[in-house]
Each structure stands twice: as C-alpha cells, then as structure tokens.
Amino acid sequence: MSARMARLGPVGRSVALVVASILLVSAVLTLSGFSVLTVANGMWQGAVSAPGAWQMSFRWGAPLFLVAIGVAIALRAGFFNIGGLGQFYVGATAALFVGLGLPGLPAIVVLPLACLAAMAAGALFAFIPGWLRVRYGTDEVITTLMSNFIGTLWLQYVTAVLLKDPSGTGQQTATRPVEEAYRIANVQGVSPVTVGILVAAAILVWLLLERTPFGITSAIAGRNPVMARWQGLRLERVGLLAFLLSGALAGLAGAIEVFGPQGRLVSGFSPQLGFTAVLVAIVGGLNVGGIVLAAAFFGGLQAALLYLPIVTPLPPSALDLLRGTIALLITVTSLSALGRALGRRRARSD
C-alpha cells in the first residue's frame, strides 16, 4: 500500500482493503499452523475451478447481491438498514405461503405472485423501522437490528408449526417442499430465470440510483439532510421509500432462495446473510457495479469455505475472521485515520 488511500479512489480503496485483510488473515493462519498455500489453493478450487464451484459461488452471491443493493439504496439516503436478514426471512416465508397455498396453478402465475408477495412482505417489514425513524427519530440501527430477531423467530414458527414438514426428522426443522414444477433452479442455484431476475434487478436499481431525481437527490440528502430540507426535499418520503425498496429487494432474495436452491425453508438458514450484505454494499462502494464484484467475492468465499474441509481441516470461523478483518479495516479507513497515518508515514520517509 504505497499510494495514499485518498488517491486510490473508491474502487482501489476497497481492493486494497480486501488484499490487506487477506494478508492479515494469512498471517494468522500461518501462525495457527495452516499452510496458506494449501488454503489458498483449496479456496480457489472451491470458489472457481472445482466442478460446480462457480455455480456455488453464484448460488451464495445472488442473495447477497440483492440484499446488498437494498442496503445501498438505504445507506445512500443516509439510513442504516441492517435488518436485511429479517426482511429476507419474512420475504422467503411469504413466497412459500404463495407457493404452497395455490396448488395446481401454473408456475407462470404462481412465481410472479410469490415474488410480489415476498417483496411486499419484505418492504412491509422494513417499513416499520423506517416509519419509526422518519416519524419519531428512532435509531434505525437499533430497530432494524432487533427486527432480525423477530424475523428469525417468525421463520422458526413457520418451519416448526405453520408449514412444518411432518416427515422431517433432522435437527433443524423444515417446511414442506414446494412443487418441483415451481422450482426456478436446482440446488446449484444457477438458471436462466435466476440470472434474468438478478440482471433485471441490477439494471433497474442502477437506473434508479444513477438516472432518476430520486437516486441523485437521496444521495445528497444522505450526506446533508439539513441542506436537502432547505431545498424542499421530503426527507420522510425519501427515507420511507428507501426503506421500502431495501426491504423489497431483501424479500425478493428470499423468494429466489425458496424456489431456487432451497426448494423449501429450513429454520435459521444463511444466518450471516444480513451482515455480510452490509459489508458487500460498503466494499462495493454503494454502487451497483461495485456490489456485483463484491457479492461475487463474498459469494465465492462462502462457496470455498464449504468446500475447504475436503482439502484442509480449516474451521468455518476462518471466514468470520476474514469478514471481520475487512469490516474492521473499512471502518478504520472510512474514519480516514489509517489513511492519514499512512500518508504521514510516507511524508516522513521522503
């Protein structure tokens, strides 16, 4: 990291941070007695080169991407929605209710309905903290965080009581599966339909953020709400809309999960999704293109971690370590303390 952080631009900064995190974690792994080369080789295989590996990267990256662009919409407008997980669960259950509740109807009717239901449910679930924030100034970090617990418990209730699969015997409770005819992807998660939905979502959100008055003015409001108010921006409306869109995208991710790789709902699945999505949004620089890359990276990590036990006995917490290091470095540098320290060190050695 010879160049100053500020000169790197947002893309370079994110790349530099991720590289630095990988180096730090590599050091920790070496000290713990793992061979970094073996681990790196295993990760590459698990994320890219092994049979079915890139499909698994896509399978884990897809929901991350959808939740993360939702987080980005809210964060650009100045609202920290970290309730992605709860909104994702609520969306997934809504999709499943439609999928199991309308037996016999053709997929072309059921799937769009289920997606709409999932988006509506996610949006509604995000609306509550959003409304509390714009109406009463309640800190949305707290309320969205707490809403994750409600979403998690709701998912448990659905899987263990409402739609419980009576034949299930595993440790985790699960619901009845949706009909095979409704599935949009197999366990590997890649299909023309899922790719189509992701591409459409990416284009629409990009248009919204970069090419509409809402996108541009909400970004200004996110940086200076006082100035935006003087200009006549309706902060309450923009904030609510941002929360609704954020929740809707997380809900949509839930629907894709139900009709795609999962085929049903398992209690407490993908528990890291909400926080990782926040990280993806920030590493991606809060813009759609960057989030595509960041989601691919973190999706690949997830896929690699599930594959790694085949080549080396690395514990799953290694991924948490890497995610945590990236989060820490991002936080530190956005306070620009590290950036300044690096700049000064260089100035002295000149």
Binding site: P213, I216, T217, I220, R223, Q231, G232, G343
Partner: protein, 534 residues
C-alpha cells in the same frame, strides 16, 4: 544584503533569525487549480500581520498550509528558523502554531470546561471535575470571558465560542496564532472586543497572523498588511500606516474598475441610504403576506409572536434584530422548515400555511440560508449535485430520467455565469472557499424564476467585490418585481438595500421604518428603547 531587493510577488524577502514565520515558494494545488502559487513571505515576531484578499484569493488556503492542514505541492514553512514537515498539523502544533478556524469545532453537548479539557488535558492520571472546572474558571476569568465552565457549548453565543476557541488555541502556548476571518461571524461591538483581545495577546509576545477582507478592519487592527490576489502575493508585509483604504482596495481587487470602485466606496464607509421612490406598486397582491404568525418555542431563540408583515412585488424588506430575537424563526417559518402554531402565510395570494417547502419553492420561493456550509450546500457532494438539486426536486412533467452529463453541463453554465472559481464540477463543494460556496448558492437560488427570495446574511464573510455584487443582484431581482426578505446583522447593508425595515424584538414586530432610515431610531427599536410605531 549585497544585492538590492526588488519588491516582487515571488521574491523571497530577506529572512534572518528575526522572522517569526517565513514561507518559501509555497504552492498549493487542488486538482488543476493553484489556490496558492509560489508565495514567499516573512513575518516579524510579536506583531499582528493581516493577510487580505478577495474570496478565492487563497488567504484561507495559505493559512491552512502554514498550519499543516493542507499539504503544499511545493515550498516550505519555517517557524523561528526551523523548517516544519509539510502538511503535518501535529508537528506544526508541537512547534508552536495554533489556529482559530472560521467555523468552530467545539462539541456542542460538552460543557465549557469539558471542551477545553478535551483539547488541553491536565497532566496526571486522576481527574476531578471540581478541580478541572476551577482551573478553567481561572483561565476564563483571566481572559475576560463571561461564561461559566459548567455552561453547555450549544447554549453559548457565537462571540463567546470564538473567545473560547482563542483560549483553547492559546492554552498550548503557541508562538504564532492564526485566525481565519474571525470577524465574519461577529456583530460590530463584538469585533471591537475581539480586536482589544488580540492586542492584549500581542502584548504577551505572541505573533498573530490574521486573515481578513474588510479594509476598514485591516487598517484598524493590523501592524502589517500583505495582499494575495489569485493565489499570488501582490503586496509583501507593509506597515499599515503606509497604506490608505483606497490603495489597499485597488491592490485587493486588481484591475477590475467597478469592483475597485465598490471597494473604495466600502472602505470610505459611505453610510448613505438609497433614498428614492419606492420601486413597488402599493396595491399589488403581496408576494409574501405573513399574518399573526406564531411558532412553538425553540431552544436557542425567541419564537415568533403574532408577527404580521407584507412584501410587495419589487420590494426589499429588511429584518433588523439583535441575534436571537426571532429572525431565524421567521426565515424557517417562511421557508417551511417549521410550521406555524398560529397565523397564516401567503405567497402571491395563495395560502401556503400548511404547504411543504417543495410546494413553496414551486411557487417561486428561493432561500439563501444562514449557514452556507451546513444549510446551503452538501459539502461532501459534488458541485453539479449541489447546483442542480433544485431542478431535480422540481422536475419538468414527464421527465422521469435524468442524464448526469446534461446536469453537469447545466452546472458548469450556472457556475461560470456567477464567476465561481472551481476546478471541476465533480469536485466536492466543501473544497471551495467560503465566498465561492456563497456564489454557488446564488447561482442555484437567484435564477430568473425567483419570485420570493429569503436572503439570510447573504454577504456574511464575503469580500468587498462579492458584497457589492450580491447587493446589486438583489436590487436587480427587485427591479424584476420579485419580493425580497433580507435578514442581516449588518445595518449598513439593510439601510442600503431595503425599501422598508421591520424590527423584531423578542420574536414580535417592534417597529417598522421606511427609507430614509435613521440609525438612531432603528438601533433604539432593536434594543427595545422605543414604543412600537410606524
């Protein structure tokens, strides 16, 4: 010296051990824009040195480079013969430089003692609140500041905050104290007190470097004066006694004849009211009608109490009030940021009492806010976003999508028309100088479609030429039949521009005057020394 010194902007003045501060070949760039270019200058110790220039001349950047807050592209800074590492504020402070900024950085929820302690901690591991407060109480008393160490920062008037900033800066025992436009935020009596305070600091042997732009203040306060123009030094430190207001005015604005004339006029302090026929039609529907307006109690200021006033097309109505007597509440109520608890607001005859700011802006309301950095621009957003936010929020019907390319072009056009000095429309607004930020705000607010302009302190902190330009623009708008509500703490400005002046006292209308105005009468009404009258 063996060679004859030729006075030149770039020449480095002779520097011996005697100079408190010497700067050599200092150049600071922001992108392609050279804010300060090849400045060489030396200041003698124990004096007050003024650095003057127009907005964007590079004064503040120069001061920030000396303090190490910006990293120069070239050149060096020497304090008492020791070269400082470039762009290193910690080293600069350790070497004995401190700075009082234009906007203050004390945490609003802290008490006075806590805030000062934060910057200048007492030695030792154990704190006791009572000792800390006693210590700072002594310091405050010695400095002649009437504030309790237990008072909250947010409850203090701006003059006290500035005095605290100076105390904070002096507590590190600097040999050089830099002040950036300290008078811009102060009402006239407080400026006098500030100058007395600075003279007392000079008497203790501290060298003072002060950035100013009002000719009168410069000549009153400073021992030497230096002038920057377009980032270059055009007058090396010269004893103030050798300068006249007219000469200084010319040096500051350069060859621009009208601006120079305006500068001289200001310097000579011509306090003549523009007497003349009212420009407005008396029977027209008022652009703004406020009737019986009251607002809920606010923290820092008197709320409005049953305020009624009208502004007719082609009329400038000035609001004169001592800070905290309801002028903020009035502006916020007219803009639509606070709703009235009683009363009625009309724009061009339409009831807007319950209308949102956006609706009022659609009807032609434009506003120049009190605080340009927080209310006027988003400092971390790009210039083009700051300029075009108005039209983005009021899009033409059918325009769902926008093209940033077109918006950038529009912003370029607007900024160029208002002579804003900037590098690129993608640069952040916070990188502009104070005067250029104000021009940016004007370019957004004072377009042809402005119908009712609320101008709060529109010239605060601006230099002579920019001030003349703003007043001219307001008069142009009036001549195009707009109505203008002018709030200013500068009575000269109110007298020069207003057709009528309404005095607010404790949130209520205390008096109303028509041009020509009497300083004695308006001043008396502002402090409640007269009966309400017309």
């Amino acid at each position: 010296m063996t060679t004859e010194a030729i006075p030149s902007a770039a020449a480095v003045p002779p520097v011996g051990a005697a100079a408190a501060l010497a700067v050599h070949g200092l150049t600071v760039r922001f992108g392609d824009l050279a804010a300060v270019e090849d400045v060489g200058i030396a200041f003698a110790p124990g004096r007050i040195h003024a650095v003057v220039g127009q907005n964007g001349a590079g004064k503040t950047t120069f001061a920030r480079a000396v303090m190490g807050l910006v990293r120069p592209a070239a050149g060096s800074v020497e304090l008492a013969g020791r070269t400082l590492p470039p762009g290193d504020v910690v080293a600069a402070r350790a070497a004995g430089i401190d700075m009082v900024h234009q906007s203050f950085a004390l945490p609003p929820t802290f008490t006075v003692a806590e805030a000062l302690e934060l910057f200048v901690p007492a030695p030792g591991p154990v704190y006791r609140r009572s000792t800390m407060e006693a210590r700072w109480e002594r310091v405050l008393r010695d400095a002649g500041i009437e504030a309790s160490p237990r008072a909250r920062i947010r409850d203090l008037p701006i003059e006290t905050l500035q005095a605290l900033e100076i105390v904070r800066a002096l507590a590190g025992r600097p040999s050089l104290l830099i002040l950036d436009e300290p008078t811009a935020v102060l009402p006239p009596p407080a400026i006098e007190r500030l100058f007395a305070r600075l003279a007392a600091i000079r008497a203790t042997g501290v060298t003072i470097l002060i950035v100013l732009h009002k000719v009168r203040e410069v000549l009153e306060l400073a021992d030497t004066v230096s002038v920057l123009r377009h980032g270059r030094l055009v007058l090396p430190p010269t004893p103030a006694s050798e300068l006249t207001p007219a000469r200084l005015g010319h040096l500051i604005v350069g060859s621009d004849a009208t601006a120079a004339a305006a500068a001289v006029a200001e310097a000579d302090a011509i306090e003549e009211a523009v007497a003349g026929a009212p420009h407005h039609a008396a029977d027209a529907v008022p652009v703004l009608r406020v009737s019986g307006a009251s607002t809920a109690a606010a923290a820092a200021e008197a709320p409005l109490r049953d305020v009624s006033l009208e502004i007719r097309p082609g009329e400038i109505v000035g609001i004169a009030a001592v800070e905290g007597n309801g002028q903020r509440a009035l502006v916020r109520a007219v803009v639509g940021l606070d709703t009235l608890s009683a009363g009625r607001l009309e724009i061009d005859g339409a009831d807007v009492t319950r209308a949102e700011t956006l609706e009022r802006r659609r009807r032609g309301l434009r506003a120049i806010p009190f605080d340009r950095n927080s209310e006027g621009v988003s400092a971390t957003s790009s210039l083009w976003e700051n300029v075009t936010i108005g039209e983005l929020l009021r899009p033409a019907p059918g325009r769902r999508f926008v093209t940033p390319g077109r918006l950038r072009a529009r912003a370029t056009e607007a900024l160029d028309a208002w002579n804003v000095r900037y590098g690129s429309v993608d640069q952040r607004a916070g990188e502009l100088s104070g005067g250029n930020i104000q021009r940016l705000i004007f370019s957004r607010e004072l377009g042809a479609d402005a119908r009712l302009v609320v101008a709060a302190q529109p010239t605060r902190g601006l230099d002579l030429a920019a001030t003349a330009f703003v007043r001219e623009t307001l008069r142009d708008l009036r001549d195009r039949d707009a109505g203008i509500l002018l709030v200013s703490s500068d009575l000269d400005e109110l007298f020069e521009c207003s057709d009528r002046i309404v005095v607010l006292l404790g949130g209520a209308v205390a008096a109303e005057f028509r041009s020509p105005f009497s300083l004695a009468a308006v001043g008396a009404a502002m402090v409640g020394a007269t009966e309400p009258g017309r």
